[in-house]
Symmetry: C2
Subunit: 433 residues, 2 copies
Amino acid sequence: MEETAQLVPPRIPGLWQGGGLEETAQLVPPRNSLGHSPEEGLMVAKQVMKQINSGNLIRKMFQESRRLIAEYGRDNIYDFTLGNPTFEPPPAVTAAIIQVMRSGEKGIHRYMPNQGLEETRSFVAEKLQAKHDLPFSSHLVTMCVGAGGGLNIISKSLLNPADEVIVSAPHFPEYVHYTANHGGTLVVVPSSPSFHLDLNTIERAINPKTCAVLINSPNNPTGVAYRKGELDELGDLLRKKSRDRELPIYLISDEPYEKICYDGLITPSPFQAYEHTILVTSFSKDLAIPGERIGYVAVSPSCYDAGNIVSALNCAQLSLGFVNAPALMQKILPLLGDAIVDIAPYQKNRDLLYTCLRDLGVECVKPQGAFYLFPRTPIPDDLAFVKKAAEHKVMLVPGTAFGSPGFVRISYCFETEMIERSLPALRDVFSLR
Amino acid sequence: MEETAQLVPPRIPGLWQGGGLEETAQLVPPRNSLGHSPEEGLMVAKQVMKQINSGNLIRKMFQESRRLIAEYGRDNIYDFTLGNPTFEPPPAVTAAIIQVMRSGEKGIHRYMPNQGLEETRSFVAEKLQAKHDLPFSSHLVTMCVGAGGGLNIISKSLLNPADEVIVSAPHFPEYVHYTANHGGTLVVVPSSPSFHLDLNTIERAINPKTCAVLINSPNNPTGVAYRKGELDELGDLLRKKSRDRELPIYLISDEPYEKICYDGLITPSPFQAYEHTILVTSFSKDLAIPGERIGYVAVSPSCYDAGNIVSALNCAQLSLGFVNAPALMQKILPLLGDAIVDIAPYQKNRDLLYTCLRDLGVECVKPQGAFYLFPRTPIPDDLAFVKKAAEHKVMLVPGTAFGSPGFVRISYCFETEMIERSLPALRDVFSLR
């Protein structure tokens, strides 16, 4: 999944106190005419309250970064917490927005079909057809509010109460909520030591409540891209398991980093590997426009019940309040062709950091895509390690946030200059014992 | 709520057959290797399947309009079904987008706090402070993905399982889903004969499971704007009922039509009427940009548990996949000042249609805002009436869609020329017995 960010906590004097690393978000009860004590008085839904109190570790680390930056100055803090690229979109994005706004075309900002503009869906379908060699039509493409919005409409469309979705750890933390929001349960299984799919753990987790297997490649947080062979084996497993039961198991492939790949890698097609596949992605990373919330869901032409799934996605898009993906962003996509951010700086950053870690003897899988490294921590307790690293002004996210204690995530979607400057501090931190 | 639109059904040959007025959406089962029969084979979540099959009457009427337009030509069909204005945004919108894109400012399209840009929230807070004479700060404002997105994050933030939200009929149909999506129940009570609040029916509906009362003024579908006195009385009732119980009942005020008011009307402040108020709105109607999905949620400075509610709204914004309201649209708002669409054509349309209906002796409340009329049907069966009207090429939405049989909704956010041309047909239709 794409990296999201609650960069600044809501801070209402007297009502909220954010804070240091140790504390979970402290919620100070309001005083008002009702005079309730905190716990009984909290009107916020219990499920959300639990989310607030358990907190989002990525967000917490970022908050701590901001505190340290305020205290020590920006140049003295190495913030590797967020996947929020500091690079600008390709110039074609700005040009396309201005072109559309100057065109005089009527109705650009109006409501449209929940599924999205026909011209945009046709553009996406053509790209899909070219990459996956399958007869995609615009009917199978639903434009959505980023991959996060896409995953929510997929969950809403597919999950009945207590249905399960299987994912391999480490995994993007919000997957838990994307499933629970709609009555389902995320079942987390370990991946292989090299962070590839472990088909045995997946097979053992499959049961009659399994609705889907969710994969994310190139992966956040490991940077691993799944190979064609392993997708084919996953497809074979799901096909076999689907035969054993009444209904097929869906494969949901979350691919926002598909185009952020290094050394010329082209990721294999999940549609080719398995017929009952639903792909979800966004333009957040390859166009560097994550704040604009534009992505799409594509249902395989050979997917079981495809027509109803597309109808359900549209129903969910409306009823969850997305209604449609932002109109102007839909409008510019067909004008952009193959525009993409320059990934050379990402690859350079990866090489700098990976080489640094390797030279220190740190166990780390070399990323093939995305913009994260996920090395093993020199001490087993990743939460303790992250605290120690913060004392050295190096801000990292603990693997625990991704369901994999004993690791940390290093995000490297930043200026190479910052990465270069950080290397001595990083060496110190990874030499901690 | 704002009018939403699934304008075109997903149409996959052999998998979906949309259709005429009589039929609910017919779902033709797919044929595939699994060879399942339709019912058992449907993988779509049961809750969403129910939505698809029960259909959205606004959408169905619009589809039928499109069919008739294709058959008889655009000039021969009078389509009053959708609240999708054909007017263009004020020129300031286009100018602001171009200005921002040419500014060379960095980071415009990046992730931001889930709550939204500080500059945009400050702009909104100042407007709120001016209108409501209360100390709004940017902390109390959460930018959201249209009012539909706003209502979903509010529901997610407040509702525990089986909690109830009370609304007066007629009401915007999607409210049912906005509540059910998050485990709650919408409790519908009748309004007064003049479509104002009936405090007796609201009082009788309040019970220990009541979490909130939801109001929508100016109202879709009636066009009625609630008076200061009635909001004050509602506030008194909720204050009294909140004292009787452990926790306050919230007032949710959904106001996307606040600025679409006629004869100089300025709507009263729900915040002044009741302290535990949450306002949700969008810029869809007053800037005519419904496809861009930009709105906000404002929590009263005196609202119980305001700090936690704002935290919960941010959590919900992230976990439901909205992440943040579209960045560029947030960016332009502070540049727009008080820009608003020209409402003179709406008022002219209202006057034309209202006078026409009144001269025919049709029972109809004169709208003070929004762009809908909600007259009583000349025959009690509004579904039958809508079918008859369609035979006269006049497309209306039955009151049943809004929980009020025996009425129809006429949307008038269209060119006055079309309204004028339609009057003879409308006269014929409302003379039907």
